[in-house]
């Protein structure tokens, strides 16, 4: 316990990731689901940076950039969708979005 190893970060990232996943699965507010996805991405990013540090290699940090870019794009589009769905159905509850029900 006297030194922080990469394993600690893996554990932390795993916990954060699982929480994000849980959020996606149990929350009904579409916006919070988006946030949970962001949390999952962040867990991944954290691991990237930790490994970059662990391996003394900058590439991990570069990939964090790309993740952030994609996350930003995803949020922008996703929120626009959420807004327009809200305009149509007056709700951001994803349980209301069951038009695909068989």
């Amino acid at each position: 316990m006297d030194e922080v190893t990469i394993g600690w970060y893996i554990a932390l990232a795993a916990i954060l990731f699982s929480m994000g996943a849980l959020g996606v699965l149990v929350r009904r507010n579409a916006l919070i689901i988006f946030m949970s996805i962001e949390l999952m991405l962040n867990a991944g990013n954290l691991l990237f940076v930790a490994f970059a540090r662990h391996l003394g290699d900058l590439d991990g940090q570069i990939w964090v950039f790309f993740t952030m870019t994609v996350a930003a794009a995803e949020v922008a589009v996703g929120l626009a969708l959420a807004v327009s769905i809200f305009r149509n159905r007056d709700s951001v509850n994803i349980d209301d979005m069951n038009m695909m029900k068989g």
């Binding site: 030194e3 190893t5 990469i6 394993g7 600690w8 970060y9 893996i10 554990a11 932390l12 795993a14 916990i15 954060l16 699982s18 929480m19 994000g20 996943a21 849980l22 699965l25 149990v26 009904r28 507010n29 916006l31 919070i32 946030m35 949970s36 962001e38 949390l39 962040n42 990013n45 954290l46 940076v49 930790a50 970059a52 540090r53 662990h54 003394g56 900058l58 590439d59 940090q61 570069i62 964090v64 950039f65 790309f66 952030m68 870019t69 994609v70 996350a71 794009a73 995803e74 949020v75 922008a76 589009v77 929120l79 626009a80 807004v83 327009s84 809200f86 305009r87 709700s91 509850n93």
Partner: protein
């Protein structure tokens, strides 16, 4: 890779923030917990010798993404969902078990990875110059691709908006 006490404090805050985000009834509170989580992760980045990423993390996530969330929540007034009929506890139980299982498995199996073989801190030159050099030399193609992704996202938003406006006009 940081002092254990620092790590533990930060990790506690991060996990606490994540739990808060998960359990808040109010979407605005969730967003704030998320910001807290992001800021903690940013501090982790600082500890991990990635100041540049850390700052970008705050700017992009805290400064842009969550602000967008807040903006949308406020705009829609969607901070609290009306009570709706939940479709069963099975979903909750299964989800909790599955995520718990995943977390346990990952922690148990992966946290032993590469024990104590971290490179010294000096091995990593994370200055903006180094990142820029790497980004524009080795990763220039993915970089351009991300710019394309952003462009497409932007265009999709514009199209979206334009359609909506047309619908309103018509």
């Amino acid at each position: 890779m940081g002092h254990p006490i620092v790590f533990l404090i930060l990790a506690t805050v991060a996990v606490f923030a994540a739990i808060g985000m998960l359990t808040s009834r109010n979407a605005v509170h969730s967003a704030l917990y998320l910001v807290l989580n992001f800021c903690t992760v940013a501090v982790f980045y600082l500890v991990l010798n990635a100041p540049f990423i850390s700052m970008v993390q705050i700017t992009v996530y805290a400064g842009a993404i969550v602000v967008l969330f807040l903006f949308v929540i406020m705009l829609l007034g969607a901070d609290q969902l009306p009570k709706a009929s939940s479709n069963g506890g099975l979903q909750y139980i299964l989800a909790i078990f599955a995520t718990a299982g995943l977390a346990t498995a990952l922690i148990l199996q992966l946290s032993g990875f590469g024990d104590g073989t971290a490179k010294p801190e000096s091995a990593l030159d994370a200055s903006p110059e180094a990142i820029g050099t790497l980004l524009f030399q080795d990763y220039v193609f993915p970089f351009e691709i991300t710019s394309l992704i952003l462009l497409v996202a932007m265009m999709s938003l514009i199209v979206f908006k334009a359609q909506k406006r047309k619908k309103q006009d018509g």
